[in-house]
């Protein structure tokens, strides 16, 4: 996620940020003014009361989430989409979010252990190149299997349970199923016990969006709870929903890689900050949200095999 490389871009981006900030502030003011009036629909998202949207916030924090949208937002001056709910993203992208993602390597551990069974390539891959290759394959795979369901659950939260059941039928790898269910249920219970009291923005008697569903799988519950938190059904919001999910996935893989001693923590952060990872994640977002749930499928069949064979490892530190 580089900020900007050329001065011209930097200027443009600065302009964009300034205008964004100005408009966010006016929105905030408007929202505060409205605070006593019940909010009729989703489209008028109320930002959290804290001044987290304040322009003085550390600039880095907004970088990963908003840099992609700068261009779009400047094009739309005056008709600005609801502000990025930074508060929600900071909560959901927190590595301390108790959903146990650290216990899963999404097949990385198995992939590395099968190293000797894969064809020899010259020059011999380094642990770092092995990791980045797996990262690419994993993002490709997840973009055609899970992302369509995140998208669908976000767009039609009322059918989240059907979607969850379909996802359950579609995820045929036993190890991947366990990983997805464990994180999905954990996410729902964090939502229930910790977030819902302050983040739930849907009226309990809303007939279109039920607020008490408990999907099992990670992808569908991610799409569902982000929608419950009041994000509007817009393309920009959906992009963020999927972006944060995939970025979390990359973080989990990198954290697993550090614990597998493939790379050190500095290299992990270097990869996470790299332009390439940013691009891969954005590509995966774009690819995945264009796929309907009926068209979803495994695009990297070897990933299912590596991950399925995780149980056959002699020693293992991860659950997937």
């Amino acid at each position: 996620m580089e900020q900007n490389t050329t001065p011209k871009n930097a200027e443009e981006s600065l302009e964009a940020l300034k205008s964004q900030i100005a408009s966010l502030q006016s929105q905030l003011a408007a929202a505060k003014a409205q605070l006593q009036i019940p909010i009729p629909s989703l489209s008028s998202y109320t930002p959290p009361k804290s001044n987290i949207f304040n322009a003085d916030l550390h600039p880095f924090i907004r970088t990963p989430l908003t840099c992609i949208y700068n261009i779009k937002l400047t094009q739309k001056k005056g008709n600005l989409a609801p502000s990025p709910p930074l508060h929600l993203w900071l909560l959901l992208a927190d590595s301390a979010l108790p959903i146990g993602s650290f216990a899963f390597s999404s097949g990385l551990e198995s992939y590395i252990s099968h190293r000797s069974l894969r064809p020899a390539i010259s020059p011999k891959p380094t642990p770092k190149t092995e990791l980045t290759r797996f990262l690419r394959l994993s993002l490709l795979s997840i973009s055609t299997t899970t992302v369509p369901f995140i998208t669908a659950a976000f767009k039609s939260p009322s059918s989240v349970l059907t979607l969850d059941d379909t996802f359950d039928a579609t995820t045929t790898c036993e190890v991947a199923r366990r990983a997805s269910i464990s994180q999905g249920r954990a996410l729902c219970s964090v939502w229930d016990k910790s977030f819902a009291s302050s983040l739930l923005k849907i009226e309990p008697n809303n007939t279109e969006i039920p607020t008490h569903c408990k999907p099992d799988h990670f992808g569908p519950s991610w799409g569902y709870i982000t929608r419950l938190s009041g994000l509007p059904d817009t393309s920009e919001a959906l992009e963020q929903v999927v972006f944060v999910f995939l970025f979390n996935h990359v973080k989990a893989l990198l954290s697993a890689a550090v614990r597998l001693s493939l790379i050190g923590p500095y290299v992990a952060q270097q990869i996470l900050a790299s332009e390439e990872v940013g691009r891969l994640v954005r590509e995966a977002v774009e690819r995945g949200r264009g796929i309907g749930v009926e068209e979803a499928g495994q695009s990297v069949p070897t990933v299912d095999l590596w991950q399925g064979r995780h149980e056959r490892l002699y020693t293992r530190i991860f659950n997937s």
Binding site: L117, R118, T132, A169, P301, D304, R309, L313
Partner: protein, 348 residues
Amino acid sequence: MESNTTTASTPPSQSSIPAGDGLIHVRVLPPSKLTLHRLNYKYPLKLISPAPSQWAKSLTVFVLSYGGGLVSGDEVNLRVVVERGGRLCLQTQGSTKIFKQKTPSSPPTIQRMTVRIQPGASFLLLPDPVQPFAESNYVQHQIFELEDTVNDTSSIVVLDWVTEGRAARDEHWSLKRFESRNEFFGVKNIDAVDGGSAGGESVRGRLLLRDAMILDGEMLCGDETLRERQDSQTIFATAVIRGKPFTRLIGYIKTRYANEPRIGQKRWDTDDDSRRHNRIEVEARDNGVLWAASSVRGFLLVKVSGVEMEGVKRFVKGLLSEVDEDGVQREGGCIAEEFGTGMFRCLE
């Protein structure tokens, strides 16, 4: 009409059905005579049913395409019904070759199959692999409707596999796009009064399992091509098994998977503390066969991949025929018991 079935089939006029359509309807006449109630098809699809011997446990139908392959724009739509007590095995004669898409705007090659399996009926699908040539664009969609999922008497064994193309012409996953979907549905009765008679009162119910694979040759991942992404695997196979008659087969495969040599830091074949590995396991490993089995929502799903075709064939055959530790086929394996012998032609 051309079929040499011995049964009294009542096909509608062949000319009335659309190109590429076909229908196979298996019915059991009292006391227990298996018949092809209907068998019809139209170019480019061809169905051949060898006359069953008197003591045959199942009917076999060969699904063929004229000229041994399908070109772009070909669309095959096969419907299959296996009534109560019926046993049907579908096979092919040689791999299904998918020729290149004529122009980028030509329609893809499509094969659809919908199979309805009534209670107490069994269906076996053991075709040769699909072989997508360079620049081919193929969509395969197979739907299996299981009427009895409570007692699991609507039974199936389905094999679906794909190879890299014509290796001799240096085609290694040079296809444009390949999509294969296998969907398994339950069935719900609209009219509950007439619980499951042969009529059409029941419709497709809940999705039980979906196995979908999409290979996109035009997509780059980083700078890796599809061929590079496949990690030198030249063949991918998926087998899905469900049903009472195959309980032992499912148990056998699970046990074999549980006994797979462990992968780890130590050399797996000299591991002192793991058990001695037997011949079939060593052979599979030496042939570059990788596999995984999972039990999902009442099904057993097996994924196999390998660096060469023969190794995978031998492995899959061994698995389905329940070979013992020395690679000898089990007398009376589940599939032989249910369908009779000679079912493994495509795995020879």
